[in-house]
Subunit: 143 residues, 2 copies
């Protein structure tokens, strides 16, 4: 096993606490999924989560992975992104931030905090209230 993926007992405790403080009962599967997600700040599809679990020799059903990702997103532990038409991504960084989107591969890269500032923003449509502002800077790899 890759040393980078070793999970210590302390890590497990921290993961369980994280789930519980968000009102999520830390079952085995949920904890394994959380370990993969929160190992670092990253953007993952459900499929990638299943693959990463597989690399650690853990099998969780597709239904449970989807249910868990949606549960985590609903509890504010994850942010669901709609940036790429062909894949739904889950962002383990829930702080408000923006993204570079690489055309073709669909890869996402975080824009560093504070690197985008607005000089001007529009009034909201009547009868609406703000939820958030998301900037996607679309780029392509230089050939």
């Amino acid at each position: 096993m890759d040393a980078a993926n070793v999970t210590t007992r302390a890590d497990r405790k921290r993961i369980a606490d994280l789930l519980e403080t968000h009102g999520i009962h830390p079952t085995a599967q949920r904890s394994r999924i959380a370990e993969v997600l929160f190992a670092r700040e990253q953007h993952l599809t459900a499929e990638q989560v299943i693959l990463l679990l597989g690399k650690d020799g853990i099998r969780v059903s597709k239904a449970t992975v989807y249910n868990t990702l949606n549960l985590f997103a609903g509890k504010g532990l994850l942010k669901a992104l709609s940036i790429d038409r062909e894949r739904s991504m889950f962002d383990s960084n829930t702080q408000p931030h923006h993204h570079f989107h690489i055309e073709g591969t669909g890869e996402l890269i975080d824009v560093p905090p504070g690197a985008i500032e607005f000089a001007r923003l529009p009034a909201l449509p009547p009868g609406t209230e703000p939820v958030g502002v998301e900037v996607v800077i679309r780029v392509r790899r230089r050939s």
Copy 2:
């Protein structure tokens, strides 16, 4: 038929010209789809295009609608948007512009031109070149 949807001979000519200047052979189906799309600036799903055609008594197969929308988008006549996780939208306004996204309904509203300005933008990731910047202002209807 709704007078707003009447297509004059002059309109048809304009549509045919539009397609041809973009290297698209203006077949009957493609022209009918273009008439619906370019009647106004709007954001439509493939399904909505089929419904609008149906209101005018025109039936085009789902496969052809998808193929045509992708063809138009590839030729720069339409812009495919990835803003809402549950539906792919096509924007008949290809000018660079930003959107309000209404949570729940998925409705999109254009941000008026010039209403967003940046005071600061980040350097691009090494080895990449810019494609565009898209801002989505997520809002919800006030209850």
